[in-house]
Symmetry: C3
Subunit: 167 residues, 3 copies
């Protein structure tokens, strides 16, 4: 059995910025990069996403956020220092870092990041969000924040943002 | 460090009912309210969503469901009294309510709901679903039900439903 | 209280293959079937989804993947034999199969599959993915693979795939 992971290869690279439109429908995609400073870090992307959506003249539609990494997640929660500490503690409790995972064992894996915990924690949080746009802005509740959960930093992380709608 | 949570503020409030269309594409969004009666409660929204979709002449498309609250979730599972009890027990086992979370500590948090457990349980379930519409109806398997997981009730909860497609 | 689960019934069955288009927007949906061989099995669907998307002349858009089953999941992670073993071990640790769940108790449930663990594990992984299409191909990071998590096999599982975009 192979110790390697399967690589995903597109025929052409993803364009940094791309648009398409037809009869009043606009689709626009971009890559955004977020630099993290810690191994586990929760970054509030809400303002960045809200500003992105306001730049385009999309009145009603969807906005998709996609993390391009297996160990970097996207999810909704409240942004408060105390709760962020609780979330990190919870992730560490749910998945022990040193539990003799095969992905960390050179006899079974050619990955040298020793990050099985990061992969397993990512299962719980997910890698994407599909939000609504209404009235030209993202639909979010008062306490809802769009959070990026870095699980194996520090690293520069690429996210793909795509808006899709009618002006 | 602040004890407060960041608030999400749109420039304009979300309209109760809103539509847009262009050249055969229709987008329609509404807010629906669900009253819950217990702290943890699982509500079957399937019939309500199915009826909503049938009201519009959308043959093929998507329907997005979004909970406007950090402690109210949306997910798919089977609706059976015994299984619902198991799901509640599972959530209580995964996240202890009384585990000295910082979000519940007045020294670190200005939240007086003592609901760290609700926030952490919500991480596991998620806040939104993006379903397919085909043949004018929602695409669901025979045993799949659209469930709202109230994690800090009783409360009146707002959900945003948006359909997006071609008639 | 009933021991039975609520059944989801559409007015008409979901078409095997269906398309709609308007003024440059195309929507195309199909059912795909995946046969599994084990009770818990992780299947890499990435190449199948990538090939599906390339068959259509959709340059920018979305592709929705939907599992039609409560105990069959869809999620993103790395595909490596060692990590797949870790994921299975993690799911088994998070939800014990023999924990006296009511769904497995004939006094409370008419389900004879004894699969409460499958339903609870599915809560953690989710049943759908909504991916971006850009430049005519699915948007995925280098190590990201689209995985189907069979949690109560072996069975033939139906997934619904829908692409939605502009050519």
């Amino acid at each position: 059995m192979s110790k390697s992971s399967t690589v995903t290869v597109r025929e052409t690279p993803i364009a940094e910025v791309v648009s398409a439109s037809t009869a009043g429908l606009t689709i626009h995609g971009e890559t955004i990069v977020v630099q993290t400073d810690q191994r586990i870090e929760l970054v509030d992307l809400t303002n960045r996403v809200m500003e992105f959506v306001r730049r385009f003249n999309i009145r009603e539609g969807l906005v998709s956020l996609w993390s391009m990494h297996t160990t970097c997640t996207l999810f909704i929660n409240e942004f408060q220092t105390a709760l962020l500490s609780d979330i990190k503690r919870f992730l560490e409790q749910m998945v022990a870092r040193d539990a003799e995972w095969l992905h960390n064992d050179p006899n079974h894996s050619d990955c040298d990041r020793m990050n099985a915990d990061s992969h397993l924690r990512a299962l719980l949080l997910g890698h994407s969000l599909t939000l609504q746009i209404s009235g030209g802005e993202v639909v979010l509740g008062q306490w809802q924040r769009i959070l990026m959960g870095e699980l194996d930093g520090p690293r520069a992380r690429s996210l793909r943002i795509q808006i899709f709608g009618v002006s």
